[in-house]
């Protein structure tokens, strides 16, 4: 029964995904994703923000298929730069530089790239099936959620975001609170009162997510990258001998499997995603290895595991977004933005009301992965050439696309002014060693939590104990409390710091 239903769903998704138009959007997403993945300093969040206005003219299916492709495409592209140039094309491929670049210096760039792509492909396929399997039961569970359950779930999500953030826990707390406070700016939907608008009419509707994200991630990154331009020194622009040896394959199988499972699990966690997955997979692989001291000298396991993990996580992080309507990271927040542009309210009802969209997007991920392996292996030479564009020119282009992208959202020049402000603010945060991701999650979840808090209080006639009387809500809160207690333990903190240090 379950299997038959799943097959029927996948069949429906297949019929949507295989239409020529949607295949083209999928390809577009994969190509853009690979390009920005290859380019250091251009991330998927900023790119998706740039393209959100463009997706307005597309049908909803095409828009979301393309946006999704950008995220997992970037995971493929990021490894290319990491291996060939010793620069992470994406922050999720930081650890790939450790062994990947060493392999390239030993003339084994080809096998490293091939294993990275094959591992990603395998992980992508597994993650697609995982989403298809996990989505229906989770959606059914989510349909029973009451307002206090949602509130507590979001609390748990924010706690995860804090625990999983890099650097100081206190600072991550600060970012979440500040993000939530920024999210409250504008008209209070419940009472119509204005909050923190300073009489500026552009703030009455609140701060837009896109200007905030683009300022903090896009503009601030440009400022930081122009400060210390990283020299790209290509090992060689010619990659020969892509095929890994039999020994490479044998050594990679287990790391790919472990990376896929670990990445898939970490991707589901709120605040998790590709970056965390790749770091953890590398650490795990070192633990499993009989020769951990050799990591960093060109071990193929050190490429296979994190590259599989980041792709698996990139895809499974769609699960909470698709089933609960809760973004687990900044990229998923962009996906939610994309849905809202098309008038789709994210949440458990999407699967029932728009099954074609839901399953079409999932199946398109498999097609996307297939396209990506073709794009990345035989065509690798083209992508490498992208790296010859110097950052000083790239920065100008990115800045222009940020400006015009934000402008086109509402044809409002004032929103462009906002990205200037948030850009400086983002640079300030970087200098003070704050992570911007928890800020963005707080910004998104803050207003949602307020809505659920009010609904809860209204339903319970002002009794706050209801949050611990509902079993589900209690579960989430206890979990959140345990996580927080856990992170304060001294040895856990040391382990966490060590894990992020790698």
């Amino acid at each position: 029964m379950e299997i038959a239903g799943l097959l029927a769903n996948l069949g429906l998704g297949f019929s949507v995904a295989v239409s020529l138009q949607n295949l083209l959007w999928c390809l577009a997403g994969a190509v853009i994703g690979t390009a920005i993945g290859v380019l250091p300093g251009v991330g998927p969040v900023a790119t998706m923000a740039l393209l959100l206005p463009v997706t307005y003219v597309l049908p909803a299916e095409g828009a979301l298929i393309m946006l999704a492709g950008i995220y997992y495409g970037a995971q493929y592209g990021g490894s290319t730069t990491a291996i060939l140039v010793n620069l992470p094309g994406e922050s999720s491929s930081v650890v790939t530089t450790l062994d990947g670049y060493q392999m390239a210096r030993q003339g084994r760039a080809g096998p490293a790239l091939a294993i990275a792509a094959l591992g990603s492909f395998f992980a992508g396929c597994v993650a697609t099936v995982a989403i298809a399997l996990a989505a229906p039961p989770l959606t059914r569970l989510a349909q029973q959620f009451t307002p206090p359950d949602y509130f507590s779930l979001m609390t748990l999500g924010l706690v995860f975001a804090i625990v999983l953030a890099r650097g100081s826990v206190l600072k991550a707390f600060g970012m979440v609170f500040l993000g939530m406070l920024l999210g409250l700016i504008g008209t209070d939907v419940n009472t119509g009162n204005l909050r923190y608008t300073f009489g500026i009419s552009d703030l009455f509707d609140g701060i837009g997510f896109v200007p905030l994200a683009m300022g903090v991630f896009g503009i601030a990154e440009i400022i930081a990258n122009l400060t210390n331009p990283e020299r790209a020194d290509l090992v060689s622009s010619k990659v020969s001998g892509l095929l890994p040896t039999r020994e490479d394959m044998q050594r990679s199988i287990a790391p790919i499997l472990r990376g896929t499972v670990l990445g898939g699990l970490l991707g589901i966690l709120p605040g998790g995603g590709a970056i965390l997955a790749s770091f953890s997979a590398y650490t795990l692989e070192k633990k499993f290895s009989r020769t951990p001291e050799k990591f960093g000298t060109g071990m193929i396991e050190g490429v296979a595991a994190p590259e599989s993990a980041n792709n698996a996580a990139a895809q499974t992080s769609f699960i909470p977004m698709l089933t609960l309507g809760i973004p687990s990271n900044a990229v998923m927040a962009m996906m939610i933005g994309g849905m809202m542009i098309h008038g789709i309210v994210p949440g458990p009802q999407v699967m029932e009301q728009r099954p074609g969209l839901f399953w079409g997007m999932i199946v398109s991920m498999w097609f996307g992965n297939l396209m990506l392996i073709v794009l990345n292996l035989p065509l690798i030479g083209i992508w490498v050439r992208l790296l010859l564009v110097p950052y000083r020119l790239l920065a100008i282009a990115i800045l222009f696309f940020c400006c015009i992208g934000v402008y086109s959202l509402n044809n409002s020049a004032n929103e462009v002014l906002m990205i200037a402000v948030f850009g400086l603010f983002g640079y300030l945060l970087m200098k003070l060693d704050f992570e911007p991701a928890p800020l963005l999650l707080g910004f998104l979840l803050g207003p949602m939590m307020e809505v659920y808090m009010r609904r809860t209080m209204l339903l319970s006639r002002g009794d706050p104990w209801v949050f611990i009387q509902r079993p589900l809500s209690l579960c989430f809160l206890v979990l959140a409390a345990l996580l927080l207690a856990f992170i304060v333990l001294p040895n856990v903190r040391k382990a966490r710091e060590a894990a992020f240090q790698e």
Partner: protein
């Protein structure tokens, strides 16, 4: 004299400043009742949380110390901001071409690495791309050249 401020002290100050400002401005937001929490409830809670986090960060810095602030990159920070602001102020008044040109030139000035021989053809290419893609292909309602009078 060299000024060197501890990074975490400054970070705590930032959180405290936002918290205090949040409390100050939000002081007269209505609090409502337990059953119908008002506009001011969450802002007040969050502002106090920010104040608390800032103070804890200060205490931690006092006990454990922290890294020094690294020098600011004034040049890119100022010029990239100017580039963004210039685009915002000019695009409606003087059209896309002028806005792009001014904005891109500010951005190019943001790094000492800019080579003008390389920048000029690149800028021309970007101008063509900007007008071709956003005005002709996507049909955005902006003009390429100054339309009418800027003071109208």
């Amino acid at each position: 004299m060299r000024m060197s401020v501890s990074q975490d002290f400054a970070a705590g100050l930032l959180l405290l400043a936002f918290g205090v400002a949040g409390l100050w401005i939000g002081a007269d937001y209505p609090m409502g009742t337990a059953q119908r929490p008002g506009t001011g409830v969450l802002p007040m809670i969050l502002s106090w949380c920010l104040v608390g986090t800032g103070v804890l960060l200060w205490i931690k810095t006092a006990i454990a110390g922290s890294a020094r602030l690294t020098p600011w990159a004034w040049r890119p920070a100022i010029l990239i901001t100017l580039a963004t602001v210039a685009f915002a102020l000019l695009v409606d008044r003087l059209g896309l071409l002028v806005a792009m040109l001014v904005s891109m030139t500010f951005a190019a000035l943001g790094t000492p690495e800019t080579r003008w021989r390389e920048y000029i053809p690149f800028a021309l290419l970007m101008l063509a791309l900007g007008v071709g893609l956003f005005i002709y292909a996507l049909g955005m309602p902006i003009t390429a050249l100054p339309a009418g009078y800027p003071w109208k």
